[in-house]
C-alpha cells in the first residue's frame, strides 16, 4: 500500500534542513508520496524509516529475476487483474523440460529446438526463455552433468527441479552463476532448500498442496530472509489450477496478502501428455496470471502460436505499436519499381514489408501516418482516405523517385481509389490484393 504524504512525514527527521532541495520535510514527504522525489535525496533519514518506506513502496507482487545477462527473465510485478485496466508488464517465461532419464539424443533434440525456434515479429524476437532440468534418477552426479551440459550449450535461464536437497546442491554447484530458479521447496524440504537458496543467492519456488499450505511456506521463507519466491499451488487439473492463479493474483492485489505476493509457475508438462494440449493449457496461463509455464518439449507448430498469444496478451492496450511514416526501400528499388502504400500500424508494416521481401521484387513502400491504426480501422476512422493518403504520398517525395505514375493500394481500401486518383492528378491507382499473403504473386505480375 502506498503511504500518504503525512504518513511519510512522520518517518522523516523533521528538521527542515533543506538539503533535499525543498525547504521542509513536509514538502519533501509530499513529493515522495507523489513519486516526484527519491528517498535518497535526504541524507538524514534513519535506516529504520528507510526499511519501512521501502516495504510500503514494494509492489504487491514481487518482481523475481531468473538467469543473467541478456537472457535475464523478469516475472511478477503485475498490478492489475485485467489487461485493459493498465497493462500486463512482464510476459511469462516459457520453459522447456529436459530430464536426466532422457537419452543423449532426446536431450539434444530439446536443446536444439530451444535454440533454433525463434521468430521475428513486429521487430521483436520471440522465443522460449528457460530450460527446466529435472532429476528423476535422484543421482546428484547425473544431475550435475546434465545441468552443466544445458549451461554450456545454451544461454538459457535454468530451472533446477528436484525435491532432494543434496541433488539440488549438485545442480546448483554447476549453475549458480547462471542464477537458476530452485524448484521446489515443499513442506518436507523447505528448510534445506531455503538454506541452499540463501547460500547460492538464487530464487526459490515453493510447491504446496493448496493456497493455505503455499502461504505457510512462503511466510516461513520470507521470515527466514528470502525475498525471491515463486509459487506453484500444486493443482494439476486445469480448472483448479486456473482458480488458484486467479485467487493468488486477487489475494496479492485486492487484499495485499503478502504470502501470495509472488509470481507463479504453472506446469502444463504435468497436466497433459501431448504437446498441442500442453500449448493450449499454457495459453490459459498466459492469459490468466502465470509467471512461468513449463512445457515437456516444443515444436514450431506448438511454440509459435503460444508466443503469439503471449505477445498479444502482453501488449500495452493503451497505445498501438506504430512505425514511423515515410518511404521504405525494400530490395533496392529503382525508378521503375512498384510503389505500394500502407498504414503505420506496426503489425501491418511488418507483415506487408515481409511479403514484399518474399516476392523478391524490389519495391517502394510508402507508410502513411494513421496513428498506429490498421488499414481498415484507419479507413473507418477517416485516417486512410483518399485525400489524406494522397497528401502523404505527395509529401513523401516518392514522386521524384520513380518514372512511372502508379501506386498500389491495399485491396481492403479499394473504396478510396476514386478519391485518391482525384487527389493525385495524373497518377493511376491500382487496387492490390486484400490479404498480404497474395502480394508476392501480385508483384511478380506487376509491370511499370
Amino acid at each position: 500500500m502506498a503511504l500518504t504524504g503525512i504518513q511519510i512525514y512522520k518517518l522523516l527527521p523533521k528538521t527542515n534542513c533543506g538539503e533535499c532541495g525543498v525547504p521542509t520535510c513536509l514538502a519533501f514527504a509530499m513529493n515522495l508520496a507523489a513519486g516526484k522525489a527519491e528517498l535518497a535525496a535526504c541524507p538524514y533519514v534513519s535506516e529504520e524509516a528507510k526499511a519501512e518506506l521501502a516495504d510500503a513502496a514494494a509492489p504487491p507482487i514481487r518482481v523475481v529475476e531468473i538467469g543473467i545477462g541478456e537472457r535475464k527473465l523478469k516475472i511478477g510485478g503485475e498490478t492489475v487483474l485485467f489487461r485493459h485496466e493498465k497493462t500486463f508488464l512482464n510476459p511469462p517465461g516459457i520453459a522447456v523440460l529436459v530430464t536426466d532419464e532422457m537419452g543423449d539424443e532426446e536431450v539434444a533434440g530439446h536443446l536444439d529446438r530451444f535454440k533454433a525456434l525463434e521468430y521475428e515479429r513486429v521487430g521483436l524476437t520471440l522465443r522460449a526463455d528457460l530450460i527446466a532440468v529435472k532429476s528423476l534418477s535422484a543421482d546428484g552426479g547425473k544431475f550435475e552433468a546434465l545441468v552443466s551440459k544445458v549451461k554450456n550449450e545454451t544461454d538459457a535461464g535454468i530451472i533446477l527441479m528436484t525435491e532432494d536437497p543434496s541433488v539440488m546442491e549438485a545442480g546448483l554447484k554447476a549453475s549458480a552463476d547462471r542464477k537458476p530458479l530452485i524448484y521446489p521447496a515443499t513442506k518436507e524440504n523447505a528448510d534445506r532448500m531455503a538454506g541452499l537458496a540463501k547460500e547460492y543467492g538464487c530464487p526459490l519456488a515453493v510447491k504446496g498442496d493448496g493456497l493455505d499450505e503455499v502461504s505457510e511456506l512462503t511466510t516461513k521463507l520470507t521470515e527466514g530472509g528470502l525475498k525471491d519466491v515463486v509459487i506453484d499451488s500444486g493443482a494439476r487439473g486445469v480448472r483448479k489450477a486456473l482458480e488458484d492463479q486467479i485467487l493468488i493474483r486477487r489475494g496479492a492485489l485486492l487484499k495485499k496478502y503478502k504470502p501470495l505476493g509472488f509470481p507463479t509457475i504453472a506446469l502444463p508438462c504435468e497436466m497433459a501428455d501431448d504437446l498441442v494440449q500442453e500449448a493450449l493449457i499454457a495459453s490459459i496461463f498466459v492469459a490468466k496470471y502465470g509467471g512461468i509455464v513449463v512445457l515437456s518439449d516444443i515444436q514450431g507448430h506448438t511454440l509459435f502460436p503460444l508466443l503469439l498469444a503471449r505477445m498479444n496478451i502482453y501488449t500495452d492496450p493503451q497505445r498501438p505499436m506504430a512505425t514511423s511514416p515515410g518511404i521504405y526501400e525494400i530490395g533496392g528499388p529503382n525508378e521503375d519499381s512498384p510503389v505500394l502504400v500502407s498504414c503505420n500500424f506496426s503489425l501491418t508494416y511488418f507483415i506487408v514489408s515481409g511479403e514484399i521481401e518474399t516476392s523478391r521484387v524490389p519495391a517502394w513502400l510508402v507508410i502513411v501516418d494513421t496513428e498506429g491504426l490498421s488499414v481498415l480501422t484507419a479507413w473507418a476512422a477517416g485516417k486512410f482516405v483518399g485525400d489524406a493518403v494522397g497528401m502523404s504520398l505527395k509529401k513523401s517525395g516518392i514522386m521524384d523517385k520513380v518514372r512511372h505514375k502508379k501506386v498500389v493500394i491495399p485491396g481492403y481500401a479499394a473504396a478510396i481509389s476514386g478519391d485518391l486518383e482525384e487527389e493525385l492528378g495524373d497518377w493511376e491507382v491500382l487496387v492490390g490484393p486484400r490479404e498480404s499473403a497474395h502480394i508476392p504473386a501480385y508483384l511478380k505480375e506487376w509491370s511499370a
Binding site: F82, R121, R239, V276, Q277, A279, K288, L303, P317, E355
Partner: protein, 315 residues
C-alpha cells in the same frame, strides 16, 4: 493466518437465450460469474461450438482446413449433415461468403435456397452469416428471414446500418439476431438499446463484438469482451447482458501462418497441427474473455476446444 478468498461481488447475469426450433431448444448464456470462475458463480450452459458450412466451395482454404470436407464442399446440405453425423456438431453456421459483391456475388434467391436446404438437413440450431457487405447482407438476410419464417435462425452480422430492416424482419418472422459492432463496448451497448427499442425481445439478441485471429488483433477483441462481461456482471449494465458470438475461423485461416507450408517456413512446424492450434488457441482465449458461441472450422480444433470446455467446467 488462513487465506481468505477474495471474491468479487456480481450483481448481474447474462440472459438465457433459446436457440433453434422450439421442439429442441438449446440455451446459451445464463452466466453469473466471469468465464469459468466457477468458484464464485455458475455457467448453467457451457459455451457452444457452431461448425462452419459454406454456401459455395471455398476457394482460398489451405489444404489442412479443406481436407476433412473435401467430399462435401459442393453440397452445403451434405456438408451440414457431415458436421452433425461425423463430428457431433451441436450448432452450425452457414457462411454466405459467395453472396459478397466482391466475390461471386450470388443472388439473394440462391442464398435462400441454400439456407432452406441446410436448415432442412439438420435439427441443430443454425446461424446464417452474411458476407459483411452491408447492402447485400441487408437484402439477403431479409429475404432469408421471410422465407424461413419460424425457423428461429440466428442471423448475423446485424450492424448499426441494417438493424432497422433486419431487426424488424427477425421480429416479424421469429429469428434471433447477432448485433454486430466493431470492437467497441459503447457501440455494442448503443446498438443493443436501439434493437430493443425496435421491439425485438431480449431472448432474440446475441452480441457479435467482432473478433480477430491470434497475432492479428486478438488482443483488442479479448479486452473488449472482458470489459463487456465486467459491465454486464459487476456494473449492472443490463444492455450488455447478452451472450457473445465469436465468428473466428475465417479470421484465423486467412492469415499467412495458417497457410504456409513447412518447406517455406520450417521453423513453423507441421502446417496441419499449426493451423489447428492457431484456431484452437484463438478460440480458447476468446472463451476465457467471455465467448458463448464459437464459430469454428477444423474438426480437430473443435475437438480440442470441446475438451477444454469440459476440463474447465469439470468438478
Amino acid at each position: 493466518m488462513a487465506f481468505e478468498i477474495p471474491k468479487i461481488s456480481y450483481n448481474g447475469a447474462i440472459k438465457e437465450i433459446p436457440l433453434g426450433k422450439e421442439a429442441n431448444h438449446m440455451i446459451v448464456g445464463g452466466e453469473t460469474c466471469y468465464p469459468f470462475y466457477l468458484f464464485e458463480g455458475s455457467m448453467p450452459h457451457p459455451p457452444k461450438i457452431a461448425m462452419e458450412v459454406y454456401d459455395a466451395p471455398p476457394e482460398d482454404w489451405p489444404q489442412a482446413a479443406l481436407e476433412p470436407f473435401a467430399d462435401v464442399v459442393q453440397d452445403p446440405a451434405a456438408w451440414a449433415q457431415k458436421c452433425v453425423a461425423s463430428y457431433g456438431a451441436e450448432m452450425l453456421a452457414l457462411q454466405l461468403a459467395s453472396t459478397d459483391p466482391n466475390a461471386q456475388n450470388t443472388p439473394a434467391e440462391q442464398a435462400v435456397e441454400v439456407t432452406k436446404k441446410v436448415a432442412a438437413a439438420i435439427e441443430v440450431p443454425l446461424i446464417v452469416w452474411g458476407s459483411g457487405n452491408l447492402e447485400k447482407d441487408t437484402e439477403v438476410l431479409k429475404m432469408i428471414a421471410e422465407e424461413c419464417a419460424g425457423e428461429n435462425l440466428i442471423l448475423g452480422p446485424i450492424p448499426e446500418g441494417s438493424y432497422k430492416a433486419l431487426g424488424a424482419a427477425s421480429l416479424a418472422y421469429q429469428h434471433t439476431i447477432a448485433a454486430s459492432t466493431p470492437i467497441d463496448i459503447n457501440l455494442a451497448k448503443q446498438l443493443n438499446i436501439l434493437i430493443g427499442n425496435l421491439g425485438v425481445p431480449d431472448k432474440c439478441i446475441l452480441v457479435d463484438p467482432t473478433v480477430a485471429g491470434l497475432g492479428y488483433g486478438l488482443e483488442y477483441c479479448y479486452s473488449v469482451m472482458e470489459r463487456d462481461r465486467m459491465a454486464a456482471l459487476t456494473q449492472e449494465d443490463e444492455r450488455l447482458q447478452f451472450p457473445i458470438v465469436c465468428n473466428l475461423a475465417k479470421e484465423v485461416w486467412k492469415v499467412k501462418e495458417a497457410r504456409i507450408s513447412e518447406e517455406e517456413a520450417p521453423l513453423l512446424g507441421d502446417p496441419l497441427k499449426r493451423g489447428v492450434l492457431l484456431e484452437a488457441m484463438t478460440a480458447l482465449l476468446l472463451l476465457l474473455a467471455g465467448g458463448d458461441i464459437l464459430i469454428m472450422r477444423h474438426p480437430d480444433a473443435i475437438q480440442l476446444v470441446r475438451g477444454f470446455i469440459n476440463d474447465l467446467m469439470a468438478n
